[in-house]
Subunit: 203 residues, 4 copies
């Protein structure tokens, strides 16, 4: 029984691969990396424990695969959004992209936030690099806006960190059937971010 392609985890036609990734994502989100057993993942994926290892050489690799996909997708969205226009426009777009990712791929965003620490070596480096690149992208926009006078904030770099934290945290409480639509949420946070930066646009 195939579930709808989620964008991050597409059905590759390769046996249980997608089912395993989906099961792992849900389990890691619900019970944490160390709180999840490979048995549970296998069970949820509808396959046997040992078959997991035909797809991923270790539990860590399974986490890494998820976090890399999440990190890459998030970075790609943010970078696209950071492409053109004034600092104000770009920041608005980036925040919307971030919130968009955090709500569309809420589980992945959640797991990326809380389970990176369990990656090691090269895998960790790669995921952390993507995360840092997101921050750097926001920081650059903030710096540009501060330089151009669009933003009045006296501490551009730290402000970028605050904005990213604010956006990321949405994944921890967002509920699809909540009071606010994804779009409303994105708009709201774009406004928070610009206000935080003391942007002219809100004057």
């Amino acid at each position: 029984m195939r579930r709808r392609a989620s964008g991050l985890i597409r059905d590759t036609g390769r046996g249980h691969e997608a089912a395993i990734l989906r099961a792992a994502l849900e389990a890691f989100a619900a019970k944490g990396f160390n709180g999840t057993s490979m048995r549970e993942v296998a069970h949820s994926a509808g396959t046997s424990l040992s078959n997991l290892y035909n797809y991923f050489p270790s539990k860590g690799h399974l986490l890494a695969e998820l976090l890399q996909r999440a990190g890459d997708e998030q970075l790609s969205r943010v970078r696209d959004a950071a492409a053109g226009g004034s600092a104000t426009e770009r920041l608005d777009a980036v925040v919307r992209a971030h919130i968009g990712f955090s709500t569309e791929h809420q589980l992945a965003a959640l797991v990326a936030l809380s389970e990176v620490r369990y990656l090691v070596g090269e895998q960790r480096t790669r995921v952390v690099r993507a995360r840092d690149a997101v921050l750097a992208t926001v920081a650059r926009i903030v710096a540009d806006g501060a330089a151009s006078g669009e933003f009045g904030t006296p501490h551009p770099h730290d402000a970028a960190r605050a904005i990213v934290a604010m956006c990321s945290s949405v994944a921890t409480w967002y509920r699809p059937r909540g009071r606010l639509s994804r779009k409303a949420l994105a708009e709201q946070h774009a406004r928070y971010a610009l206000a935080l930066l003391e942007a002219d646009a809100l004057g």
Copy 2:
């Protein structure tokens, strides 16, 4: 050799209690609740594995004790800060209190943020209640300020959530010997928060 009392974990004179709590806090922060074994805690605390159970009936109780202390302390600080003055003054004080806690008790703040999920039942309820009370305190101030016209933000409740998230996230990156002093950090975030709320005071 006793380490300096940390405020949260005071030496009670009751044998290894403080050492155990400290060891657990550090381990949980470094490797997560499920990534930490009681053996490691015992070893770091300088006592035997079985002796742990003379102080705490289970690993879960050990976590609960830490999180309750952290939650209580944080709530108490925030409530104290929320006591008097205009909404602007109270918000400023609350943000400073929050940042103060997150930097003074960084490990506890970190563990409170990421390991609450492993509490169950009554213990979880109690800790979550403290966390919610912090949010409610901020939300009330924001609502007051919005009502009085001090804050221009059109979404007071969500803004409170954004502010708390922003403050909490400081614990994830703060380094005692970093560029900014704890006080500077607090000031900076107070400004971010007021700006986010579109406060008159920054006009």
Copy 3:
């Protein structure tokens, strides 16, 4: 790329058979029967795991095939050498044949020595029989020489065992590029054997 026919493992033109036997021989020699997985063998043989089972019905059969070939070859060489002449001449020839086998087919000799124990039933019986036949061949020569007065040793049967052990052990340390050539090694051990038997010829 085919490796040179080794005598024991000839290329039969039957797909991967020779490659599998060679890979198994090397792996068993390096890591032992129980330390070697079928996966490793398949990988080294350049084929798939499941294809192994098209050639050998089980891991045990793979070992049996190797050990039978080794045992048969060794026995055949020893028997040929034991054919004619005086006891002294036959013993000299047999020791040279043994050392010849142990150095030419070092891996096979090594595996035959240390992994027979993992054979079971009929397969084990057959290999052990070949091994015993080698000993019996040597023992017969020694007995003949003792009877004829060529050898002065007072314990002919046990002496045969000592000689075979001495020859077999060469496989455990021989290195093709070592100090002694294969021929020199054979000569040396022939002399050890005759001396051990207190042969007239050395008087």
Copy 4:
């Protein structure tokens, strides 16, 4: 139920330690290191699987402990025997000591012979060093005897290797209730060794 102290494995009074070592020794001898499971060892030792790990941190350490004890004991016996007298006397004594060890501690001798390969790193180095020291001790005596004219063999160093191999192999077939007593076996092999060396004494 305590079994008689074996010399190598003495009862230390520390719980199941001796029982575990004995069980492991027997199992490794019977089924090989990789053919033995920790479960079997635990079962034979009369304790639980997990309790094994309170005594030995890994299966490899268990093997190492056995092989180190065996290697140390063997080396110590051989060195004691190599102490005084003519080369002929010392060689005679050393061979008797070697056979003595191989028959008294047959299982340990057997396991030392066939399972060293599964040791790694420092542990392997140490055991191999003991084994090499035994060979070196014999080689020195042979060299002395060759120099003094007591032994006529033209290849002293390799002869030492042959003698050690011959003695070690006794452990592979010796049976306590066999035709020859331990003493007779030792005498016999001493004679083989001296004959092999073309010793004057046998002239």
